[in-house]
């Protein structure tokens, strides 16, 4: 196996992942610029003020529905897609993997469960397509994205919704529902960024979701190693302090948006009359801005993943050219 490990995503999946990430990041920046406008006033100003930010949010929201429609159709009409359904069904082994992760942290076991491993190394063939976290991410994000799309469509025209319910606060309640629903995904994405950006074997980015499987050579040698081989990888010099800092940022970001969502629902009167959106203090402002910083890091890492794919592609081409030149015109992978 390569140190790129068990890359099992097709090219379409990697491209879809990149587009979805870009789309969702923009939705977060605009959506939470609106909801946490007290704390993220600069972000709202940066994106064209109140009208600019809602216009971008709507436009990118349409893009999200298109991406969801594309992916659902592809999963249904293709055999590869249908076979993926089986791969994402949670099993009892996933629950065991979660428990074993806790035991691993406590030092009670020496290895992570195969359903938990991100770095599989020599054991890549034994590792399922998705870890227990990966399956959870797909399920929660699928439910979230569906509900967010539906509620987003409902509040597309708030004036119409106000007319329908004959009350202004009802329409605003839908807006609040939409924003609070997204908070779960916002927190989940922060964890997702940490999980796939700061694994010591992959730092600064796990390339599984960026480099298609077809571009990752498989080892068909006689190696019978029963080790992942992680002990042979060299830890990046900056991993320690960068991961500590990002871990701190991720925890701060999650806690802050969680607290912010309780106190600051984004609109003056969601449930009770509380003009001003609740307590806004310096700590919460800093915390929510740190959360947005984590998302920016995620956006940069996502773009970096595509740069890596491009470099990887070029490297493979060069290797193929070299092979062609030395073996008399036969490509080694033909």
């Amino acid at each position: 196996m390569t140190n790129l490990d068990h890359g099992k995503f097709t090219r379409v999946t990697t491209v879809f992942h990149a587009l979805l990430a870009l789309d969702v990041f923009v939705l977060f920046f605009t959506g939470y610029g609106i909801m946490f406008n007290d704390e993220l006033w600069w972000l709202v100003t940066l994106m064209g003020g109140n009208e600019g930010v809602t216009a971008i949010h709507r436009l990118v929201g349409v893009g999200l529905i298109a991406l969801i429609g594309f992916w659902m159709t592809l999963m249904i009409v293709t055999p590869t897609g249908r076979s993926n359904f089986r791969a994402i069904i949670p099993t009892p082994e996933d629950a065991k993997a979660f428990v074993q992760d806790i035991l691993f942290v406590l030092g009670r076991v020496d290895q992570r469960h195969p359903n938990a491993r991100q770095f599989a190394g020599y054991d890549a063939d034994e590792i399922p397509l998705l870890s227990y976290v990966g399956k959870g991410v797909i399920f929660i994000f699928s439910v979230e994205l569906t509900l967010l799309s539906i509620s987003g469509l409902l509040i597309w025209s708030k004036t119409a919704l106000m007319g329908f319910f004959q009350t202004k606060t009802a329409a605003m309640a839908f807006v609040v529902f939409h924003g609070l629903l997204g908070v779960i995904m916002l927190m989940g994405i922060m964890f997702h960024i940490f999980e796939h950006g700061f694994h010591p074997a992959f730092y600064p980015l796990e390339t599984k979701a960026f480099i298609p499987r077809e571009m990752i050579p498989e080892d068909h040698g006689d190696s019978e190693a029963d080790t992942t081989g992680i002990e042979n990888l060299t830890l990046s010099p900056s991993w320690g302090w960068v991961t500590s800092l990002m871990g701190f940022f991720v925890v701060t970001g999650i806690v802050s948006v969680l607290l912010g969502s309780i106190f600051d629902e984004g609109y003056p009167v969601p449930r009770e009359l509380a003009v001003g959106g609740g307590p806004t203090n310096l700590l919460l402002t800093i915390g929510i801005n740190i959360g947005i910083l984590v998302l920016f890091v995620g956006l940069v890492l996502s773009l970096y993943g595509n740069v890596l794919r491009s470099r990887w592609e070029r490297q493979i081409e060069q290797e193929r050219d070299r092979t062609t030149a030395t073996d008399g015109g036969q490509r080694s992978d033909d």
Binding site: T2, E51, D101, F119, S157, M172, V183, P200, T227, T228
Partner: protein, 165 residues
């Protein structure tokens, strides 16, 4: 040892195009249908409409909100999502801490950047020797070194005696 690129069953070109078309139709259609069904217009910004309400005494931003949400079902939905936010938020935090700790333990089994394979993390996780933990390393360095170059790690095949001390 041989290495080759796998035969992967990718998605067909036609399926991709059809799916993309369905996606676009769904996106545009759903927006059109929503505005058509509800009979509103996205052009009217409710934020602009109600930002300032001069008809209310001492009018200002948000001043026209004279009552909270009065529909119990919506009120319940918001309370429900608040609860979901808190419960899942705490669970996500647990996942972050678990992974943070897992990463630290795994990192302690990797080679140090300065070439020393020992790390302080070993002593704290039970005093095992470096090659007996992590994501199931067993310290079989002969295989590891043999495959090291292919795994893209220039140091893997350097033959420094593995991580046993």
């Amino acid at each position: 040892m041989t290495s080759e690129y796998p035969e992967t069953s990718a998605y067909g070109r036609v399926a991709i195009l059809v799916s993309a078309l369905v996606g676009v139709v769904l996106a545009v259609g759903s927006v059109w249908l929503t505005t058509f069904l509800l009979g509103g217009s996205a052009g009217a910004s409710s934020e602009s409409l109600f930002r300032v309400a001069p008809t209310v005494q001492d009018g200002g931003v948000g001043a026209d909100w004279t009552a909270g949400n009065t529909i119990p079902a919506l009120d319940f939905l918001i309370a429900l999502i608040h609860a979901a936010d808190v419960i899942l938020g705490v669970f996500i935090l647990v996942l972050v801490f678990i992974h943070w700790a897992v990463f630290r333990r795994l990192a302690s089994r990797m080679r140090r950047p300065d070439g020393d394979r020992r790390s302080e993390g070993i002593a704290t996780d039970g005093g095992r020797e470096p090659g007996t933990g992590g994501e199931r390393p067993t310290g079989r360095d002969t295989d590891a070194e043999r495959n090291g170059a292919e795994r893209g790690n220039p140091e893997a095949g350097s033959g420094d005696g593995g991580d046993r001390r």
